[in-house]
């Protein structure tokens, strides 16, 4: 479901936005249909809670309806929508007790003084096919994403899951492109490490049998 918009999609969407600004309610249904699942997915992954994701989705869709005239077209419409969704999700998170963040630094690669990798790196990339659709693997992946610190997580969700460009993610989050890249790289390193622990353990379990 990645969101790399084609030029035609963008033109259609801009037309829908103009229609809605002119009071055409059918345009609203279409925009809601395009964005509903994206907003729900993003807010669910940020809040990890179905009720919160439902609230956020509802709030964002209602904002689109009520405040469409505040959208001036300075940024892409999708950036405007994602920004409202991210902020609404953060509001939900702020109202809850925070769980202590894991330190992402502990999971970064380590090197010896000559700059060579210290740990043994197994290549499990060819062996994931049979595991991909098991519930256990999905749980491990969801949990790994869940453990990402907020700053890295939101960048990972917008860039890698939603498929937005670094420029667009930067626009949504008020970050420079280098900052987006650096956070995304850290997120990917973290996830690689977490998944490696799982897949390496899985291979040794299999080897023991």
């Amino acid at each position: 479901m990645s969101f790399s918009q084609t030029k035609e999609d963008k033109a259609t969407e801009e037309a829908l936005v103009r229609d809605l600004q002119n009071g055409n309610l059918d345009a609203y249904d279409k925009l809601a249909e395009i964005y509903q699942k994206k907003i729900y997915g993003l807010s669910f992954h940020l809040t990890r809670n179905q009720m919160d994701a439902q609230d956020v989705t509802q709030e964002v869709l209602l904002t689109l309806f009520r405040k469409i005239n505040m959208f001036q077209g300075k940024s892409a419409f999708s950036s405007w929508v994602y920004r409202i969704a991210v902020n609404a999700s953060y509001m939900k998170l702020r109202s809850k007790k925070k769980e202590p963040n894991v330190s992402i630094d502990e999971l970064m690669p380590s090197f010896n003084s000559a700059g060579f990798q210290q740990e043994k790196i197994q290549d499990w990339s060819e062996n994931t096919e049979s595991l991909l659709f098991t519930k256990e693997t999905r749980d491990v992946i969801n949990k790994a994403v869940d453990l990402l610190p907020e700053k890295e997580k939101v960048v990972f969700l917008l860039r890698d899951v939603e498929g937005l460009s670094s420029e667009k993610a930067g626009e949504i989050l008020d970050l420079t492109v280098p900052a987006v890249k650096s956070r995304l790289h850290r997120a990917r390193l973290f996830l690689r490490k977490k998944l490696s622990n799982y897949f390496e353990e899985f291979s040794s379990r299999k080897a023991e049998k």
């Binding site: 309806f65 790289h185 390193l189």
Partner: protein, 79 residues
């Protein structure tokens, strides 16, 4: 010759195709001599893809979809 640390620092730009040709060449030379970094590259790409594919499987639960529809309908009628 670059070391593993430099190699992993460049990984992101390498995958995104944002390195100049000279840096790409020295990185690829490093890969030829360093199986751990090849494994790292493969698993970095693979874990990114696995996470993306898994997270994109999410669907809006039917009950949630129904209740959203209801709210939107009410909102439209108010207008």
């Amino acid at each position: 010759m670059i070391c593993c640390k430099e190699c992993l620092d460049l990984l992101y730009d390498y995958i995104e195709g944002e390195l100049d040709s000279e840096t790409t060449k020295s990185l690829e030379e490093h890969f030829e001599d360093c199986p751990p970094c090849i494994s790292f590259l493969n698993t970095y790409k693979s874990s990114t893809k696995l996470c993306r594919d898994t997270l994109n499987q999410i669907e809006i639960p039917e009950g949630v979809r129904d209740s959203l529809l209801k709210v939107l309908k009410e909102q439209k009628e108010e207008k």
